[in-house]
């Protein structure tokens, strides 16, 4: 028994135990929520500086956190069996919405990503970040694992259709994340190592051909990634300035609101995709290590929760959600530090804008729902 009735002991102990009971009743995982809250709080502090001291930016982001938390709490209450049964419909709806975007989507930022719902603008690709791993987990739920060749083919189709639709928007970053979320389900499902190696080989070949179908700006990003100095004022500018910001921050940083690269706007996209560099500049290596520790804590906790679930659907989905979160962090940090090409992936829970905060928190809500009902499902 984890939550035993405590009638004696210190007041602190009684309070904590009481809080644990409330969280249990709400299907909320305390450590996970605390980790997320710390990241969010740090993020808001950084965002105030990174946005050029824009309080409205901070408030708008805080509002999104409220919305995301509501989604998380709500989804945590959902019965996993219901979730599993509705997965195909969700996936189908997502694909339809993507087609609608492709056909009539609102043109924003030079790419068709948005669906204007009058009240707010909605990115169906965000929905697919959840729907694709759910669909993969749903598909594998009834089937024996490791997946057969036939299953792999079907899964490939289920993943690639929405990925292709997102990629042509064009939104390479999100497409990659959706593909990663789906692929992680398959990997966790027990994909054989030799098949994995083979697929990686195929991916290399695919990349070669994909090159020929890339937009100019996408190709430029890849080339600039390989050698940022070739185009210091063009496509390489982002990456050079972000490395200057991080490098000049040193171990202790220049101090909050004291980063000249960020404050004087040498760092582009300072409050969105490149906010990692602002942290590096103003809070130094220590700040980044703190942030990375928080992320690792959240990911570890989420992976642990995934291992505790008891049916295939729950396990694969929860594992994929946990690992995808890490992929987000790694891709963003990698691109800002110059390890990876610049693809538009925001730093989860810290970058300003987009519906990704809501999607991420919703994902954690699902994860908690799966974990908290581990006794109700399964064999």
């Amino acid at each position: 028994m984890i939550y035993e009735e405590v009638t004696s002991g210190s007041r602190t102990r009684r309070t904590l135990t009481g809080a644990a009971r409330v969280l249990f009743a709400l299907k909320i995982d305390g450590p996970l929520v605390i980790g997320l809250a710390l990241i969010a709080a740090f993020g808001l502090v950084v965002l105030y500086s990174a946005s050029g001291q824009s309080l409205s930016t901070v408030l708008r982001t805080a509002a999104r956190f409220v919305l995301g938390t509501a989604a998380m709490l709500l989804l945590a209450q959902v019965n996993p069996n219901f979730l599993r049964r509705s997965t195909p419909w969700l996936y189908l709806a997502g694909c339809v919405l993507l087609l609608v975007v492709a056909a009539a989507g609102h043109v924003g930022l030079g790419a068709q990503r948005w669906l204007d719902l009058k009240l707010f603008r909605f990115q169906p690709s965000e929905l697919m970040k959840l729907a694709v791993p759910m669909m993969c987990a749903w598909y594998l739920h009834e089937r024996p694992l490791p997946p057969s060749w036939g299953s792999l083919g079907a899964l490939a189709g289920l993943i690639l259709l929405p990925v292709a639709l997102v990629a042509v928007e064009p939104d390479l970053g999100t497409a990659a994340l959706i593909a990663a979320a789906g692929a992680l389900v398959i990997v966790l499902g027990g994909l054989r190592t030799r098949v994995m190696v083979g697929l990686l080989g195929l991916a290399a070949v695919g990349a070669f051909f994909g090159w020929n179908f890339m937009h100019d700006y996408q190709r430029k990003r890849v080339l600039t990634f390989l050698n940022p100095q070739t185009d210091p004022l063009g496509a390489g500018y982002h990456i050079i300035q972000s490395q200057i910001a991080i490098g000049s921050g040193g171990v202790f940083g220049k101090g909050w609101m004291n980063g000249s690269q960020a404050q004087l706007e040498f760092l582009p996209e300072r409050s969105t995709d490149f906010i990692f560099a602002v942290i590096g500049e103003e809070f130094g290596l220590l700040g980044l290590l703190l942030l990375l520790s928080l992320y690792l804590f959240v990911v570890s906790r989420a992976v642990y929760l995934a291992t505790q679930t008891q049916d295939t659907f729950a396990r694969l989905l929860a594992g994929s959600l946990a690992l995808t979160f890490f992929v987000y962090v790694f891709i963003n940090a990698g691109m800002v530090t110059g390890l990876l090409p610049v693809v538009g992936v925001p730093l989860p829970l810290v970058s300003y804008g987009g519906s990704s905060v809501v999607t991420l928190l919703a994902g954690f809500g699902i994860l908690m729902a799966l974990y908290s009902r581990r006794k109700l499902i399964g064999s």
Binding site: L145, S148, I244, L288, L296, Q310, T312, L316, F330, L339
Partner: protein, 630 residues
């Protein structure tokens, strides 16, 4: 037939756990890679990136140093600095550009023709940079704008320092001027040290002493953002930054005495010509006049094309520095040195008389060399020949000495060479010789020196040419009986803060060799005769001091043998140039002067009176008495 597989939940759980462990290990590896990367950026290469970041945020804004003043020998300012007003516009603060410009045209502050061009310039500028739209505003313009300033958001009047010459064109050919830095200038200055400097010395003292006058510009570090806009404060960043104050340029004290300069310019006013007055005891240039001149302020405030073309195309060539660069035949002013050569080479007995019947011809030649105005001097000795400027005497004397000896003797007096005055642009006249002719001419027939050319040489005609500066230098050497001083315009540096003077030592160029004191005295006596009973007797009349002089008349137009020179009949610009050299007091000279009046006719009538005025101005006090030597 494939084996039927059934779901094994226990095995699947184990498989999942294995995979989760592998993924966790991969994540740890990836995180480690990230941390290594961060270590490289933030620790190993921290200094490198710090420098780059510093380079991004800071811009050095130059603070121009105040240009040194130029003073005359008594401390009167000849060139100073003055604020000039200009109208500037910050594009992003102007609500309606076209309307604003139109209203400025209506106010008379802009010309309608300039508006299109201005609009283009403004639109191509950065939105936050101040763009000058009207330079050189008069006080009236400033006042007109000031009362309506509130109607023009984004516009302001800014001041900048410009060069100011309180006396206008006075001494301009000695001073030179400052103007905008040209491509040509950029080749020989250090661009970095001129950042922020708008004007540079172009000629004369302003150019020759540019290094001293310019000073050292300071700078101020300014916080700039990615667009290059300077910001006071951004986030917690402040523009705390370093400043280095400029070091003002050094002041210069000229040897020029503005009082003498003014008298000389007034005396020559209305004519083309030059006056150079030297202190024979140290080479100080007391006055350096070349007329007509121009107002140097025009260039400092930005000369318009129209103004420049006017100066360029003026038939009187106001931009031409006659004193330093105009070469003219010296005419009879060379007679004292020819006489001195005759004495030194023992060719002539000073007391022996020669008979002047108004003309001279070489043995074996029918060519007749005539006396100026066909005068008949009768029997003249050396003293008379100088005083009355007898051509026939010097035709014969020159012929007897011979061209090479004359040439060699004249060289130490500075003929045919630069005097070495401390400004650039000086030209040298020609001191002819057999050797010179051999080197100069291309055709063999032209390379031969004809005996007749020596004859003309004796009266300062033919190939011999001088600049007014060279001739003043020569007068100065005669005055000191052979001491040669290099002429100089700057006699001291002055510290702009303390006012402490740092005098420059005069530069001696040695002495004229081999001339006896007795011979010097004979020549000076002849030159005193010029002003007392000779060609310039009218000018020397009632002078309260004894002075030595020599007239000269340089032919511009060759009159044929049968024709009579009639000044009134020929074109004014073909008339003879009028020369006069003098020094005073004759026994202990304090000033030597050369005056040239282009097309002034005979030396005695045009140039000599000007020289007398200069001598009077320098030597006499208010009561007309000779000032004691200082």
């Amino acid at each position: 037939m494939p084996a039927v597989r059934i779901k094994d939940h226990w095995r699947e759980q184990r498989l999942f756990d294995q995979r989760a462990i592998v993924c966790a290990a991969l994540m740890a590896l990836a995180t480690l890679g990230l941390i290594v990367r961060l270590y490289v950026l933030q620790v190993a290469r921290h200094d490198y990136y710090s420098d780059l970041s510093q380079g991004n945020r800071v811009r050095n804004e130059p603070i121009p140093a105040a240009r040194g003043l130029i003073l005359d020998r008594h401390g009167e300012v000849i060139a100073g600095n003055q604020p000039a007003y200009q109208l500037e516009l910050v594009p992003e603060e102007v609500p309606d550009l076209s309307d604003t410009l139109a209203r400025l045209v209506a106010l008379g502050l802009l010309r309608d023709d300039d508006v299109d061009e201005l609009e283009r310039t403004i639109e191509s500028s950065r939105r936050f940079d101040s763009v000058p739209i009207r330079l050189r505003m008069s006080d009236e313009d400033v006042a007109r704008f000031a009362v309506r300033r509130f109607e023009f958001p984004g516009l302001d009047i800014k001041t900048r320092q410009t060069r100011f010459y309180p006396n206008g064109a006075l001494a301009v050919h000695a001073l030179g001027y400052v103007g905008a830095i040209s491509e040509q200038d950029l080749k020989h200055i250090d661009r970095a040290s001129y950042a922020g400097t708008a004007l540079i010395g172009k000629l004369g003292v302003e150019s020759a002493y540019e290094h001293e006058l310019h000073g050292v510009n300071g700078f101020r570090e300014v916080l700039v953002n990615a667009q290059g806009r300077s910001v006071e404060r951004q986030g917690a960043l402040l523009a705390e930054l370093h400043t280095k104050a400029p070091t003002a340029g050094g002041d210069l004290v000229l040897s020029i005495d503005l009082k003498i300069q003014r008298v000389a310019e007034a005396a020559l006013a209305g004519h083309r010509g030059a006056v150079v007055a030297l202190d024979p005891n140290n080479g100080d240039v007391l006055a350096l006049v070349s007329l007509p001149g121009f107002d140097p302020t025009l260039f400092g405030r930005g000369i318009t094309a129209g103004e420049y073309n006017q100066l360029q195309s003026d038939i009187d060539r106001p931009l031409f520095n006659r004193a330093l660069r105009g070469t003219y035949p010296p005419g009879s002013t060379v007679k004292p040195v020819i006489a001195l050569a005759g004495l030194t080479y023992h060719v002539v007995d000073p007391e022996a008389h020669r008979y002047c019947a108004g003309s001279f011809h070489l043995p074996g030649s029918s060519f007749i060399y005539r006396e100026y105005h066909n005068e008949h001097h009768g029997a003249v000795n050396l003293d008379d020949a100088i005083a009355r400027s007898c051509d026939v005497y010097f035709y014969g004397l020159a012929n007897e000495i011979g061209v090479d000896r004359i040439s060699a003797f004249m060289a130490p007096f500075g003929f045919g060479a630069l005097t070495g005055i401390d400004v650039s642009g000086e030209k040298a006249g020609i001191l002819p010789s057999r050797d010179w002719k051999q080197k100069t001419f291309a055709r063999p027939a032209d390379r031969i020196w004809f005996p007749g050319e020596t004859v003309s040489f004796g009266i300062g005609q033919g190939y011999l040419t001088v600049t007014p500066l060279e001739l003043a230098h020569y007068a100065s050497v005669l005055a000191t009986r052979g001491h040669i001083w290099q002429p100089r315009l700057v006699r001291a540096h002055r510290d702009p803060r303390s006012g402490a003077l740092q005098p420059l030592a005069p530069v001696s160029q040695g002495e004229v060799p081999g001339v006896s004191a007795e011979d010097w005295q004979r020549i000076v006596h002849g030159m005193i005769g010029v002003t007392q009973r000779g060609t310039a007797a009218a000018v020397g009349l009632h002078a309260p001091y004894v002075f030595a002089g020599k007239t000269g008349t340089a032919q511009v137009y060759t009159v044929s043998r049968t024709e009579k020179y009639n000044a009134s009949k020929i074109n004014e610009r073909l008339r003879d140039h009028s020369w006069f050299i003098a020094f005073a007091p004759a026994d202990a000279p304090r000033i030597a002067v050369a005056v040239l009046q282009e097309n002034g006719g005979a030396g005695a009538s045009a140039a000599a009176p000007i020289a007398r005025k200069v001598l009077d101005a320098y030597l006499l006090d208010g009561d007309g008495k000779v000032k004691p030597s200082s």
